[in-house]
């Protein structure tokens, strides 16, 4: 991988509509160039307001303690942990295969990325590689999952700003993607489809038809979504210039994913440190220009089109062959072998009862989830259970930049900023 181009490279086609935004502020009596915080005289009349944890726009159970002067946010203190489930402790008590369903439930909107990150980490410790067909199917399923996750984000963050129609449209399309999940794994959300050593199983024949339909219909559907929101004057007035994050701040807060790229930093782990054959596919990394809520919106919409590009390429070039590794320490032997081969029977028995023994060592494997860098720091002591597994959750770091983003904004805009970070509280709290 060559070094990346310097920061502030080419940008997507963004028209910040700044005149329209300033005109809107002018009608409110705000002088150009002034932030809301410049207008208030900070006296002793500040109010502390509790927002959440049961608030529809906090996307789960996030509690914010807001310090207000009038309607202007002076300070924001997020209170998290309401969904803390102790998955990292659970990992230490379960065999590697048993950990996979736990990973599903962390970032419950992109379970496949969690499966993939964990599986890749274990596979690196084991020193095995998944056959090419398995890798391509992983990529297809992950990118379908990214589409589903971005559609959910699109619907809910538009809903936060009052655009109910967009929400219904997003749900309509997401169903098609969940149907594919159901087809290949039997489950719509917590699929556990990606396993250590490969996949749950090869895909059934109906998969080709359904993915083909997605490739064919989705470009038009995304156009439809953009038609609803992208040039919508209400949406633009509410989001342009709001919740700005400079590239330096984004990096210092450890923000990743669309939040970082919205600030104009072209960093995508699929490009920068490719895994699972992502380097075989041709796609672009969209970035924003100003790092406001609207840019993050544009970046995610463009990312959906790039995901479709990846799915198309992987689908058209899908190789034949096995999807699972032939390493019998890791993957179950095929059912028909059990009738004739004593060794297969032994491997099957050992794998089901004891699990796989992973060589001692430590590894950090990161994947680019819809929310950013999802990393698994895995320490093995040579037994069949992880000694320690730290999950580096993208939402956690992205959310920690929220107080910085909303300082000086109006309280009604806090929900727009939260929506633009695309947090999943299961991911934040784990």
């Amino acid at each position: 991988m060559t070094a990346l181009p310097p920061l502030g490279g080419p940008v997507t086609d963004v028209d910040p509509l700044s005149e329209q935004y300033e005109a809107g502020r002018g009608r409110l009596g705000i002088e150009p160039g002034l932030d809301a915080i410049d207008l208030v005289e900070i006296g002793d009349s500040t109010m502390e307001l509790n927002m959440g944890p049961m608030h529809p726009s906090t996307h789960g159970v996030l509690r914010l303690v807001l310090n207000l002067e009038g309607e202007v946010v002076l300070e924001c203190r997020p209170d998290i942990g309401y969904l803390h489930t102790g998955f990292e402790k659970d990992f230490e008590r379960h065999t590697y295969q048993q950990c996979i369903p736990y990973t599903d439930r962390m970032d419950y909107l992109s379970p496949l990325f969690n499966n993939l990150g964990f599986s890749l980490a274990v596979e690196r410790l084991l020193g095995i590689e998944v056959p090419l067909r398995g890798q391509y199917l992983r990529v297809i399923m992950c990118e379908l999952c990214r589409l589903a996750s971005h559609l959910l984000w699109y619907g809910t963050s538009a809903l936060d700003l009052g655009a109910t129609t967009a929400f219904v449209y997003a749900w309509r399309d997401r169903e098609k993607l969940l149907d594919i999940n159901e087809l290949v794994s039997g489950v719509r959300m917590h699929t556990s489809f990606i396993r250590v050593g490969g996949l749950l199983a090869d895909v059934p024949d109906a998969f080709y038809e359904m993915v083909g339909a997605v490739i064919k219909t989705f470009p038009k559907l995304i156009d439809e979504h953009e038609l609803l929101i992208t040039k919508n004057p209400i949406f633009r007035q509410r989001t342009i210039g709001l919740g700005t994050l400079t590239p330096e701040d984004a990096m210092a807060y450890g923000a990743t994913g669309p939040v970082l790229r919205g600030s104009g930093v072209p960093y995508d782990l699929r490009k920068a440190q490719p895994y699972s054959s992502y380097d075989h596919f041709d796609f672009d990394v969209p970035i924003g220009r100003t790092g406001d809520v609207y840019d993050r919106y544009l970046v995610r919409m463009q990312e959906m089109r790039e995901s479709l590009k990846i799915i198309t390429q992987a689908f058209e070039n899908l190789p034949d062959g096995p999807v699972n590794t032939t390493d019998r320490r890791v993957a179950l032997p095929p059912r028909n072998e059990l009738n004739t081969s004593m060794e297969s029977l032994i491997h099957h028995f050992k794998l089901v009862t004891e699990g796989m023994r992973v060589p001692a060592g430590q590894v950090y494997q990161a994947v680019e989830s819809p929310r950013g860098e999802l990393g698994f720091y895995l320490v093995s002591d040579g037994t069949n259970r992880p000694y320690r597994c730290k999950v580096r959750a993208p939402s956690f770091s992205n959310l920690s930049a929220l107080p910085h983003m909303v300082r000086g904004e109006l309280i009604a805009d806090v929900v727009a900023v939260i929506g633009s970070i695309d947090i999943v509280l299961g991911d934040v709290d784990r």
């Binding site: 991988m1 070094a3 990346l4 310097p6 920061l7 998290i80 942990g81 803390h84 102790g86 990292e88 402790k89 230490e92 008590r93 596979e123 690196r124 410790l125 590689e129 330096e248 701040d249 990096m251 210092a252 807060y253 450890g254 923000a255 990743t256 930093v265 960093y267 920068a272 440190q273 490719p274 895994y275 380097d279 060592g361 430590q362 590894v363 950090y364 494997q365 990161a366 860098e373 990393g375 720091y377 320490v379 000694y387 320690r388 730290k390 580096r392 956690f396 770091s397 920690s400 930049a401 910085h404 709290d429 784990r430």
Partner: protein, 188 residues
């Protein structure tokens, strides 16, 4: 299989440290395409500031900080590995630093002045593993309730099964720290 970074992630940081701050690098090890650098906690802030500011490194993004508990290796080696991961977007690299601290003195200096994003990660590490970050402006629990007892990711934290003492195992009624190590509930 693609390793994180290439050719060896973290080698850039290790080489730079060995050149600029040779006394700070206590040990350097590599495996599975990743370099690990052991540093003393007294040097930690200087090391991270150098890694952030030096143009050859530019590790400007904190990835996480956590700790790994190895209770059985004291006193030969300190009990906790405090693990820092930093990422350089400019040079497309991640590096791993490890600071070892003992059970009696689990302190490391805070890095929130160096990386704003370390704030929450340090709180999480304090919450779940009981590592104290000296100088942190608001070191309190972040995921668990404020009145929680103990630090769950320590290996001697009894997290399932209630230890019930009978006449044949009266030692199970001892305080957590003094209980035998093979007692049910621990995860070591």
């Amino acid at each position: 299989m693609t390793a994180v970074g290439s050719p060896m992630s973290g080698a850039r940081a290790a080489d730079l440290l060995e050149r600029e701050l040779p006394t700070a690098v206590r040990r350097r090890d590599s495996g599975l395409g990743e370099v690990t650098i052991w540093v003393d906690r007294a040097d930690l802030v200087a090391v991270c500031t150098l890694l952030r500011d030096h143009p050859d490194a530019a590790y400007t993004t904190p990835v996480f900080v956590t700790a790994v508990d190895w209770p059985d290796r004291e006193p030969a080696e300190p009990r906790f590995d405090v693990v820092y991961m930093l990422r350089s977007l400019q040079h497309n690299d991640v590096c791993r630093l490890i600071v070892q601290v003992t059970e009696d003195d689990p302190n490391v200096p805070t890095l929130e002045e160096v990386f704003a994003g370390m704030d929450w990660h340090e709180r999480e590490c304090f919450d779940l593993l009981g590592i104290t970050f000296t100088g942190h402006h608001d070191l309190k629990r972040i995921l668990l309730p404020t009145d929680w007892d103990g630090h769950p990711l320590r290996k001697d934290y009894a997290s399932f099964g209630e230890p019930i003492a009978f006449t044949h195992n009266l030692e199970w009624a001892l305080p957590a720290a003094e209980r035998p190590r093979d007692m049910p509930g621990g995860s070591r």
